[in-house]
């Protein structure tokens, strides 16, 4: 990865941005600038970017309001961000004015229709009573409220009123609201009104100019309703006409605004000094020549390009571009699920891929089940869906399971068909568990080594020498491991020297913080006094030693799952015995599917657990930034 600083004149900045956007190899970074420079051009360009973003949104709204699809619209070849805005704004304003006015008429018509329909229902209910609607509000002993409340609040309202006698009659429902009659005695009017108010009750009043008996009111309302329906039909015709007349132009302006918004936003983020712009970014080494060529061509050699070595720091991370061969890319996803590698950090994809496949196969070793998993992977790889991305992993895991199946001599759980090349897990329990732990110790040692390499590369000497995953930790781990093995094997060794080695490493880890500060020159050597630091470090050391044991023993699951797999397969075979031919094969088939589906999955989870917790925990931080080159169009459309 190389950092490039491109100095370009105002005259060329637009063309170069569009060209770089089309090239798509530059990961834009913030400009680190000297005095007199602005770290971002901002100003005019940011204003323009806001202007275009706002235009784009307004056009999108207009298109949606008119019911015009935005699918499959091409970006115009020529973008002219300095001129497009004025032209588009004027036109959009005209369209919006028409649309606002149309929408307001539609909203008003709909509101009127809704209200009229409610009053119609109210009048229908009251039509048998031969009194005027106004008189209902002036009863002597009864307090009556007529209006609407949100439908979902009706039950709650009835439950909320528990201190007074009341009646609530829902008479009509329209959309999300219910028309209700609510009544109580005059004495309790205040409580009812408060309860209704808190249930978002809206009193229903007669439209202006409508009065009389319910029948008279009804006749008047029906006429008004018909008029409103006519208005709404006319409004829909207007919409269709507007969409036909203006659709194509609106779509073209919308795409243009989108492109212009992107370009101006990018320029706004460049550094600037007077009329000179500074484009800062990261480019992969192999794309550097292409980038230089493009810049020279577009600016006719008038741009200056500075190429710098990457110097990562927490504040200014260097983006990481993973460059693994295609067959390792599915494993990159497992790595990035944990976290993307930092620029100066080891990419753990290759060791992860190797150990993942190896551990999976060891736990899932069976020729038949492995092949079945391989076939399932092959099937998923030909289909579209969420599991397609898992297909390569299934293929690798299935192949590994098959290979270990040969080593174990296991075919669908039967161990009497194929000879085992290595051992039969169920008959060699102790050896396979021992191998598992040994394999785990080897993987953890690899983790220690990768930590040392990583700390060396980033020159973190404190971590390299004194941390529990560093040299002191590694020596302590190997000493404990070696001592343990020697004791079990009955091999004699110099106990005093061994104890001294352990003690020395333990003390180094115990004092890792002050020692690290000492060797790296950071001061003060002690942050919070000897007492606090030592007590804290002691418990951390204790935890470290315990974790060495638990981390190693964690790998016992490699053997345990191999044994469980063989055991489970045999249980299925036993269950199938004594049944008729058809049932027997059905049990074997279902059993095989269960094993491949569920056990295969659990083994996958266990493998990931070993990778993430035991292996990655030793050396991998995963706080990196992925390389994402800027493009003219949003990433998903580019």
């Amino acid at each position: 990865m190389r950092k490039v600083n491109i100095f370009v004149s105002e005259e060329n900045v637009l063309d170069i941005t569009i060209a770089l956007g089309r090239l798509g190899v530059l990961h834009l970074d913030e400009a680190e600038v000297d005095e007199g420079w602005q770290s971002s051009a901002g100003g005019y360009w940011s204003e323009q970017a806001d202007r275009y973003a706002s235009l784009e949104r307004r056009l999108r709204n207009a298109l949606d309001t008119l019911g015009i699809s935005r699918e499959g619209v091409e970006v115009p070849d020529q973008l002219v961000p300095k001129e497009d805005a004025r032209m588009i704004e004027e036109k959009v304003r005209d369209v919006e004015e028409d649309l606002d006015e149309w929408q307001e008429r539609k909203r008003a018509a709909k509101r009127t229709r809704e209200r009229l329909e409610l009053v119609v229902e109210e009048s229908r209910l009251l039509s048998p009573l031969e009194i005027s609607m106004e008189a209902l509000q002036e009863l002597d002993h009864l307090h009556l409220a007529i209006g609407t409340i949100p439908k979902e609040d009706l039950t709650g309202l009835q439950m909320a009123i528990f201190r007074i006698p009341f009646v609530i009659i829902p008479i009509f429902e329209r959309k999300d609201r219910a028309l209700i009659f609510a009544a109580t005695t005059k004495d309790n009017a205040a409580i009812l009104d408060l309860a209704l108010k808190s249930a978002f009750f809206e009193p229903l009043e007669l439209p202006e100019g409508v009065s009389g008996s319910p029948d008279e009111v009804l006749a008047d309302l029906e006429k008004r309703l018909q008029e409103v329906e006519k208005q709404l039909a006319h409004l829909e015709e207007e919409r269709q006409q507007m969409a036909e007349e203006r659709g194509d132009r609106l779509l073209e302006w919308w795409r243009r605004s989108q492109g212009d918004a992107r370009v101006t936003d990018l320029i706004g983020r460049f550094g600037r000094h007077g009329e000179t712009y500074l484009i800062v970014g990261w480019v992969p080494e192999q794309d550097l020549d292409g980038l230089i060529k493009t810049v020279s061509e577009v600016t006719e050699g008038e741009a200056d390009i500075e190429i710098l070595e990457p110097r990562p720091s927490p504040q200014r991370p260097v983006p990481t571009l993973l460059q693994n061969p295609p067959f390792l890319q599915p494993f990159e996803r497992i790595v990035s699920t944990f976290g993307f590698p930092e620029y100066d950090e080891i990419d753990p994809t290759l060791p992860l891929a190797l150990t993942f496949v190896l551990m999976y196969g060891m736990m899932f070793g069976d020729v038949g089940h492995g092949l079945l998993l391989f076939l399932v992977g092959a099937w998923f790889s030909r289909r579209e869906g969420v599991l397609t991305s898992l297909a390569p992993l299934m293929l690798a895991a299935g192949a590994s399971g098959t290979l270990f199946g040969f080593l174990y001599g296991s075919l669908f759980g039967r161990e009497d068909i194929l000879p085992h090349i290595w051992l039969s897990p169920i008959e060699s329990i102790l050896p396979i568990l021992t191998v598992s732990i040994a394999g785990g110790a080897a993987l953890l040692s690899l983790g220690f080594i990768l930590h040392l390499i990583s700390a060396w590369q980033s020159q973190e000497w404190g971590s390299f020498f004194f941390s529990d995953d560093g040299l002191a930790g590694f020596v302590l781990y190997l000493s404990l491991l070696g001592g343990g093995v020697a004791l079990v094997q009955g091999v004699t060794f110099p106990l005093a020297a061994w104890a001294l080695l352990l003690l020395t490493m333990a003390v180094l880890i115990l004092l890792q913080e002050p020692l690290s500060r000492l060797v790296t020159g950071r001061r003060p050597i002690l942050e919070s006094g000897w007492g606090t630091d030592l007590v804290q470090s002691f418990f951390e050391l204790f935890e470290t030693v315990i974790s060495y044991f638990t981390n190693s023993l964690s790998f016992v699951r490699l053997g345990a799952f191999a044994i469980a797999h063989a055991g489970l397969s045999q249980v299925i075979l036993i269950l199938s015995e004594g049944s008729g031919v058809l049932l027997r094969w059905l049990i074997i088939l279902v059993g095989a599917l269960v094993i491949v589906g569920f056990e295969g999955l659990i083994v996958g989870i266990q493998t990931l657990r070993l990778e993430y917790y035991e292996f990655f925990g030793k050396f991998y931080r995963g706080g990196g930034l992925a390389f994402e080159p800027f493009r003219l169009l949003p990433r998903e459309e580019a």
């Binding site: 973003a53 706002s54 949104r57 409340i149 949100p150 979902e152 609040d153 039950t155 709650g156 309202l157 439950m159 909320a160 009123i161 528990f162 201190r163 999300d176 609201r177 409580i191 408060l194 309860a195 108010k197 808190s198 249930a199 978002f200 809206e202 927490p314 504040q315 991370p317 497992i334 699920t337 944990f338 976290g339 969420v386 599991l387 898992l390 942050e527 919070s528 804290q536 589906g597 569920f598 999955l601 996958g604 989870i605 990931l608 657990r609 993430y612 917790y613 990655f616 925990g617 995963g622 706080g623 930034l625």
Partner: protein, 354 residues
């Protein structure tokens, strides 16, 4: 009951969640953060962690506290989205809806800003950045001139439908309360619907986390309306959820009728809540403040317990987001403690996970 196709999905979710749990701040980092001398140093230390992407754009020397806090909430919002692509149907809906809480809070901020006449740019600075995950036109909303126009602009969306019934009251009273409570009630009702739609273990787990969250919010509202707003029992019942997981209308009615905090919590949750004894003898106002910490601690404990067990269910995801939320709340406490020049020990005492 877990569907067969849900198993691989939960396996993928589990892998992703476990990976993200590994990126939570370790004790050593907390010690460093607690000892930061000022917010700049705090930010510097935090930038070396999983929070770096959200903090990257900030000024390190003299950072604005509010801005840091909003970035931390942004990190939390992203944590809610992270497991979504792999999750099965109902659980996915629930998690996506839990994430929408950030949209609800942003909308309330906009309503308050617009009503108070704050400049659009100032309102925008106070929103939690939700990026392209949110489909709401935040800039347009902050540019609008009045509260009714904001509500009308939301027409057709869930929020528009939730707010619309409160609009007439807003016009009459010019108070945001009717709108805000409509928004909250609609949000939590929908959340409960998503919980109810789940089956088997997923439903139990959702009730254990989300159900308790909704109930505690409902109980808290009821106490606040009675203690601080002096609302009538009918109003308290109407402004709360009538159906929760454990705290239903009968519990709210008891609160409205004068029940105290401690017996109410004991009645609803028994002894499953940690630290209830702290409430003994406290007046209701103080007990109400303490209640929030009790629930924070409950979620933290439940989350850590859940992660020790069986993995293929929604509980793992809810436990992860609960831990992430605890971490963000603790970071906010630490940040505010540092700003107030408190000692590390004093700040530490306010940590939920401390």
């Amino acid at each position: 009951m877990l569907g067969v196709l849900d198993v691989p999905r939960y396996a993928a979710v589990n892998a992703r969640v476990r990976g993200r749990i590994g990126r939570l701040l370790p004790p050593a980092r907390w010690r460093i953060l607690l000892n930061a001398s000022d917010s700049g140093e705090f930010l510097q230390y935090l930038s070396g962690t999983a929070y770096r992407p959200v903090l990257a754009a900030m000024v390190m020397e003299r950072p604005d506290l509010g801005e840091i806090e909003r970035r931390l909430w942004q990190h939390l919002a992203q944590a809610y989205r992270a497991p979504l692509p792999f999750m099965p149907g109902g659980s996915k809906d629930l998690l996506a809806w839990l994430w929408r809480r950030f949209e609800v809070n942003n909308l309330k901020t906009i309503l308050r800003g617009v009503k108070g006449g704050a400049p659009p740019a100032q309102i925008r600075r106070t929103l939690v950045p939700l990026g392209s995950d949110s489909e709401l036109p935040w800039k347009t909303l902050t540019d609008l001139a009045s509260v009714p126009v904001v509500v009308e602009r939301l027409e057709g969306s869930f929020y528009g439908s939730a707010l619309e019934p409160g609009l007439e009251r807003y016009r009459r009273e010019e108070l945001l309360f009717p709108l805000e409570i409509r928004l909250d009630l609609a949000y939590f009702r929908q959340l409960l619907r998503f919980v109810e739609a789940l089956r088997g273990r997923d439903r139990k787990e959702a009730q254990r986390f989300t159900g308790v969250m909704v109930d505690s919010q409902n109980v808290s509202w009821a106490f606040r309306y009675r203690i601080y707003d002096d609302f009538s029992p009918e109003e308290i019942l109407n402004y709360t959820l009538r159906k929760g997981v454990r705290a239903d209308a009968s519990v709210i009615r008891q609160i409205a009728a004068g029940a105290s905090v401690l017996p109410t919590l004991q009645n609803v949750w028994g002894e499953s809540l940690p630290g209830l004894r702290r409430l003994v003898g406290l007046p209701d106002k103080q007990a109400l403040l303490e209640m929030e910490r009790i629930f924070d601690r409950y979620f933290y404990n439940e989350a850590t317990e859940t992660l020790k067990g069986y993995s293929l269910h929604l509980g793992i995801v809810l436990a992860y987001v609960a831990l992430q939320e605890t971490e963000v709340k603790d970071l906010v406490s630490v940040l505010e403690g540092i700003a107030a020049n408190w000692s590390p020990d004093r700040i530490h005492a306010y940590r939920i996970a401390g």
